[in-house]
């Protein structure tokens, strides 16, 4: 049962990643590309969490937590750079 649910989850997140990649290439503005990257980070965190369930190892969550932090800092850095022309003032 759990195997089917995990397969569905992996498929959904993978398909979502493909759609985000399309928006990353297509997206008319820079803000769209930042948003696509942010969503890709969220989907990859989901994949890591599901992989943690699939393998039964608790070490995957450190990776997920680190990716959540790095993704947030990266998004804010991109936005800050576009707003101020500088990241750390």
């Amino acid at each position: 049962m759990i195997a089917y649910a995990l397969t569905f989850g992996f498929a959904a997140l993978g398909f979502g990643l493909a759609m985000n990649l399309w928006r990353l290439f297509k997206g008319p503005g820079v803000a769209d590309r930042i948003l696509a990257l942010d969503t890709m980070v969220i989907n990859v965190i989901g994949i890591i969490v599901l992989a943690g369930i699939a393998t039964g190892s608790g070490t995957a969550f450190e990776a997920a937590l680190l990716l959540a932090m790095v993704g947030f800092v990266g998004t804010v850095a991109y936005a800050k750079f576009l707003l101020r022309g500088d990241i750390i003032e």
Binding site: M1, I2, Y4, A5, L6, F8, G9, A11, A12, L13, F15, G16, L17, M19, N20, W22, R23, P28, G29, V30, A31, D32, I34, L35, A36, D38, T39, I42, N43, I45, G46, V49, L50, G52, I53, G56, G58, F61, E62, A64, L65, A68, M69, F72, T75, V76, A79, K80, L82, L83, R84, E89
Partner: protein, 140 residues
Amino acid sequence: MSADVSLAEWLVSAVIVLGGGFALVGSWGLVRLPSLMERLHGPTKASTLGLGAMLVGSFLWFQLVEGVWTTHELLISVFLFVTAPISANMIAKVHLHRLRHGEASESGSSAGRVPSLPGGNDWATHQAPHEGTPGDFAGD
């Protein structure tokens, strides 16, 4: 015991499928919706909620099936639910800022238009340091 584990497995499977569906809807919204302000809704709400559901599923799985108490999921979900609105706000500000400078275009859909503020005011995105503000380096 076996029925107990089976129930937990059903529960975790349902939550994971729910989360996968929400994540898919969020990514589909990012592709489908016509303007950036509408596209912001998909990832910030649906994807975050889907990831929260998957984290709850992981929490339940490790608690009920593996018998391990983990708090990482709670940490990740709290962090995500705090940071998602902040990053969305930053992206919206970038969009407004670039609209004002004519570097971004707005789609023609009615929901995509940025509403104007009363009193001739404009949305706050960036204010260059000027006389009397802490960032004023002109006098140095």
